[in-house]
Amino acid sequence: MLDSVLFYFFGGVAVLSAVLMVTRRNAMHSAVFLITTLMATAGIFLQLRAEFLFIAQIILYVGGIMVLFIFVIMLVRLDVALHHVRFRMQKMVAVLVALALGFEVLAILYAARRLPGQGLFISEITPPDKLPPNSEELAKSLFSAYLLPFEIASVLLLVAMVGAVVMAKSKKGAEEQ
C-alpha cells in the first residue's frame, strides 16, 4: 500500500514536472521543474531500496549538475533572449518521432508480456528487509567487478573537466581564471 502510494506520488510528480519542464518558456523555470523531476526520481530510487543511488542522485544531479545548469542560465540571462517563438515545424517531426518511439517500446512491452517463464512480471523479489546493505554491496561490486569501468569513468570525468575549463575559459586569458 505504502509502496503504491509512494510510487504514484513520485511518478506523478516526475511526469508532471517533466512535461512542465519541456513546455515552460523560461529556461530557469525549466531547470526548476527538471530539479523536481530528478528529486521525484530519487524518491523512486529510494522506493526501490537503492539508497546509495538515491543520495548520489541528490548530491550529483541536483546539487551538482543542476546547479551548473542554473549557473550557466544566470550567466547568459536567457530571459532576455526568449521572446522568440518556441515551436516551429520541428514540432510535428518531434511528435512523430516520439510517437514512433513510444509505439516501438509499447510493442516490445506487449511482446514481452507473452514471454514464457521469467518475463517482465517477476513475482519472486527479495523482500526489502532481506536485502544486503545497499552501499556496501554497491561498493563491493564497483571496486571489484567494475573496477576498470570505474577508472575509465573517472578518466572521462577528468577529460570532461579539462575540456569544460578550456571551453569556458575567457579568450582574454590570464586575467580571469
Partner: protein, 376 residues
C-alpha cells in the same frame, strides 16, 4: 536598481558591461556617494562617481554670514573632524585680519586638533575594517573615540560639531583636569592601538585584502592632487605641519610616516603611525601649556581689509585649504574650500580599475572620504 543608465539587458558574460549602481544608499559608500561601476564579471572596467547628494551650498551661505557666524558651518563639512575644520577657518580669517592667536590658545588648539586627528583616524579604521569584513575593530575604535569626544564635551559642551575655536583664539579656558584627561587618554591609547595592530596588521586575510589594492604611485598622487595619508603612503614626505607650520606645531617633535608601495596596506600603516605621532604631540603639548590670555586682539565686529588670503592646514584627511576674499565688509565676498576628501576622491577611478567589486569598498574605505566635505 532600475536606474537610468543601468543596462537591464546586460549580461554577466557578454560583451555588454554589467552596470552596478552602488549607492547613494549602500552600506559602505560612507554616506551618500553613488558609484556606477561598469563590471565585466566582477572586475571593474570603469567607474563614475556621482556626488552632490549632500550638497548644502556651504560656500554660498558664507557670503551672507559674518565671519563669526560662518564659523559653525565649517564644522559641518567634515563632521568627523570638525575641530580641524574650525582650526583651518579660524586661522585663515586671522591671516586675513593680520591677527594672531596668543600662544596659550595655539597650544590648546594643537592639542584638540591632534585629538581630533586621532578620532578621525579611529572612525576611518573602524569603518574601513568593517568594509573589509572585520566587525570588531569598529567597536574598539569607537570606544577610544568616545574618550576623545568626552574631552571635547568637557571642553566646549559639544561632541561632534564642536565649534571649539573662535577667530582670534579660544572662547573657553581649558577646564580643570584637561591636561590630566588628555594624558590619561594618551597613556592608555598606546596599548589600545597595539590591540588594533594585533587584530589586523599581521592578519593574512587583511594583508591579502589590502596589499597591492588601489596602488597609487607618487607621481599619480601629485598629478591627481591627492594629499594627506594617501600622498604619504606613496612615499612623498609632505606634511603641512612640518612644511608650513601653523598653530604650535613648530614647537614639537614628531615624525612623518611614509609608505613605499602606495597601496591600501601602506595607507593603513601610515594612518596607524600617524595616530601614534599625534599621541606623542599631545603628550609633549600638555607638558607645558603656556599661561596667558586665550583670546587675541580682534574686535567684536570683524571687518578685515579688502583682499584675499589662502590658508591651508593638514587636516586628518589631507590638505584642507580655505580661500577667503574680503571686500572690506563684515561678510566674506567669496569663500572657497579645498576639501581633501573631494580631491582625494578623484583618485578613485584610477585606483579601482581592474580590481574586483570587493576591492571597491576597500578603496572607498582607504580614501577616507566624508561626503559632507565632498559635497559641501
Amino acid at each position: 536598481m532600475r536606474e537610468e543608465g543601468t543596462n537591464q539587458n546586460a549580461t554577466l558574460l557578454g560583451a555588454d558591461e554589467l552596470v552596478l549602481n552602488m549607492g547613494p544608499q549602500h552600506p559602505s559608500t560612507h554616506g551618500v556617494l553613488r558609484v556606477k561601476l561598469k563590471l565585466d564579471g566582477e572586475r571593474v572596467r570603469g567607474t563614475e562617481c556621482v556626488i552632490g547628494y549632500l550638497h548644502r551650498g556651504v560656500e554660498k551661505i558664507a557670503e551672507h554670514r559674518t565671519y563669526q557666524q560662518f564659523a559653525p558651518y565649517v564644522d559641518r563639512m567634515d563632521y568627523v573632524a570638525a575641530v580641524s575644520n574650525g582650526l583651518g577657518y579660524c586661522e585663515a580669517v586671522e591671516k586675513l585680519l593680520n591677527a594672531e592667536a596668543p600662544p596659550r590658545a595655539r597650544v590648546i588648539r594643537t592639542i584638540l586638533t591632534e585629538l581630533q586627528r586621532i578620532a578621525s583616524h579611529l572612525v576611518w579604521l573602524g569603518t574601513h575594517a568593517l568594509d573589509i569584513g572585520a566587525l570588531t575593530p569598529l567597536f574598539y575604535c569607537f570606544r577610544e573615540r568616545e574618550e576623545i569626544l568626552k574631552i571635547f564635551e568637557r571642553y566646549c559642551g559639544a561632541r561632534l560639531t564642536t565649534h571649539a575655536f573662535r577667530i582670534g583664539g579660544l572662547q573657553y579656558e581649558a577646564y580643570d583636569g584637561f591636561e590630566k584627561d588628555v594624558e590619561r587618554f594618551c597613556k592608555d591609547f598606546e596599548r589600545r592601538i597595539q590591540e588594533y595592530m594585533d587584530l589586523l596588521t599581521g592578519n593574512s586575510i587583511w594583508i591579502g585584502r589590502t596589499r597591492n589594492v588601489g596602488v597609487l604611485s607618487a607621481a599619480d598622487c601629485i598629478a591627481l592632487g591627492a594629499s594627506g595619508p594617501i600622498l604619504r603612503a606613496s612615499g612623498v614626505k609632505w606634511d603641512l605641519r612640518k612644511a608650513q607650520p601653523y598653530a604650535a606645531y613648530d614647537q614639537y617633535q614628531f615624525e612623518i610616516p611614509v609608505g613605499t608601495n602606495g597601496d591600501t596596506y601602506d595607507r593603513y600603516l601610515v594612518r596607524m603611525e600617524e595616530m601614534r605621532q599625534s599621541r606623542l604631540i599631545c603628550l609633549q603639548a600638555i607638558e607645558r601649556i603656556p599661561d596667558g590670555p586665550i583670546m587675541g586682539k580682534v574686535g567684536k565686529v570683524l571687518k578685515p581689509p579688502a583682499g584675499e588670503v589662502y590658508h591651508s592646514i593638514e587636516a586628518p584627511k589631507g590638505i584642507l585649504g580655505y580661500y577667503l576674499v574680503s571686500d572690506g565688509t563684515t561678510q566674506p565676498y567669496r569663500v572657497r574650500v579645498r576639501p581633501p576628501s573631494f580631491v582625494n576622491l578623484q583618485a578613485f577611478d584610477k585606483m579601482v580599475r581592474g580590481h574586483l567589486v570587493a576591492d571597491v569598498v576597500a578603496i572607498i574605505g582607504t580614501l577616507d572620504i566624508v561626503l559632507g566635505e565632498v559635497d559641501r
